[in-house]
Symmetry: D3
Subunit: 131 residues, 6 copies
């Protein structure tokens, strides 16, 4: 149960509907997912987030799949159920194999344990690792 209504096209403001249309065009799909329908309650937020997502997730210095992996890692650390499901699905759509998925999880496990050990013992940064 969301804390806001998930707005249908009929319920959404014209400004929000325009974003819905751009999502459909950009992704070449009829489907507008719940995240955008929730944000449509706050059209300026919707527009800013969509424009940003579109720009940021496009291939650039990093390829699209690497970006998805980073997105998933962050979503796991923030424990965002919606985002974990959505972006794991997206990553598979962009070619993530199950073996790559498994390796990413293992790196996350290694890092998160290592992070906590360093924090627990308050280990100071070696001089040579500072810029």
């Amino acid at each position: 149960m969301a804390t806001v209504k998930l707005l249908t096209d009929a319920d959404a403001s014209p400004e929000a509907r325009e974003v819905f249309d751009d999502i459909r065009r950009t992704r070449n799909t009829d489907y507008v997912n719940n995240s955008w329908r929730a944000m449509a309650n706050h059209p300026a937020m919707l527009k800013r987030n969509w424009e940003k997502a579109k720009a940021v997730m496009a291939p650039g210095e990093l390829d699209a799949l690497t970006k998805e992996l980073i997105y998933i890692a962050v979503s796991i650390m923030n424990d965002c159920e919606y985002c974990i499901h959505t972006h794991t699905h997206f990553a598979r759509g962009k070619g993530m194999t199950e073996a790559q998925y498994g390796e990413m999880l293992v790196v996350i496990g290694l890092a998160t344990e290592g992070n906590r050990m360093m924090t627990a013992m308050q280990v100071p940064v070696d001089e040579r690792f500072k810029v």
Copy 2:
């Protein structure tokens, strides 16, 4: 100031010193950094973590740089000062450009904001994104 002594080679147990030596061999360097010198207070922990790190961070289904980027993303989310400095340094050593670094940060920013918006509004996962 760490909560434990950072053990020199002279202070470390033979079991810990063996790990130090393997770190030097594997990384082809004379330098053993503080994380291992802290863990050397608990030799079994040191050995397990080093063996695991060596296996996990090696190139496999994902290349070594992609693994470093995931490691950095997790470290930022856990706010681990030691790990952020160390692995940003390592990533540069493995070829991360400043433009790639900037893109990774922007993806992290997008994801962490998106995560919190979905959590705030408790948006339910679309049926189609469940396996």
Copy 3:
């Protein structure tokens, strides 16, 4: 499914039932919500938390709605499903408009992204911002 029973009035100890009664009186309602019924398994915890909540959330130097907004922001950051639903409901009861809700979410989004960027780059605090 909670890890403890949600105690009815009949199941609760006399000490817990007294707190239930005070909740009803203070809030002018018949309804005692699940958080208190869970804490009733540990009556001293229940009493201390209720007394504190009653004192802390009352209008003081900050008005009651501002306090609810801060409570919601913290609950989102801790990813507490129970607390997000409850306190978003309470904030609306205390007059939060949908436009205010949207603005709060946008501030949270800005802050959480900004926080992670500063942490990622380990930016040192400007001397002038220290007390």
Copy 4:
């Protein structure tokens, strides 16, 4: 020690320098703080963040001080040293009294403890608190 150089006006790109100038104009000050000088290494990130911060933190449905309080609350939950110092300083500049500061901290303390208790016992949301 940041992981990037804090760019002076001389070092920054023309695009970044323009943002610096807008910061000076908007805030009516000569001082550009470290957060922007760090982001200047990635001019597009700098520009997007500054434009967003300027828009989001301006008084709207919520007044400027309430927005700062929410910003501080998020920064505490993310444990961002830079952001805690900076925005506590900003909030005082916008009129936050020490008594208001103390009350905000107490609300944060109440919320974060309550959050963890609900999570610990996995308390289900009462039907009536769902929209």
Copy 5:
């Protein structure tokens, strides 16, 4: 809905099935729980995690129940629904009384509030508390 299939014995690889068998033997039960059936998609991860869990959770310098309490505390702080349910169940199986459970929760509440207050006010560590 998990992001991977929970593998039955029939679906699992021989390597994974061996771990399943060791879980059954070690715990003297027929039941292999979902965590292992999820990890079985990545057999090396499954094997490493099971070996480690078996070694780490056995009584040593700390008794088995104390270890479970620490495990639960961490799981609450990471907001891991699966782990909270599982390890609260395990702790009860190892003799945790409801009174002990209540006390643990109260310590967690005290600590998490205290942590955030110190972070909020950026209180420096007293010289005498550094090693």
Copy 6:
């Protein structure tokens, strides 16, 4: 640098000074540490936190050292530098051996990695582990 003054006995209000005196009596020491001197800026917060800490950390159903271990585990998960140093020091004062410390760290490492793996794969709780 704290965001508030660390109040000396001379600077503190009579109400705060009374708490300082009770800390000295209870702990049988002359030393009042920085956490209380920071909270003294908000005397009601100081009094409530001290009374609670005194009651909660006393031996009860759990012994004093087990409580300290739980406190440390939470502080590590919240990344509270002040609290990690202080309570690691306190735990040693209450008899924590280096071997116990090492085992606690290893349990924290196991738990935090396990938590993130379950979250990553969104593993559903087994029916039998729900109360």
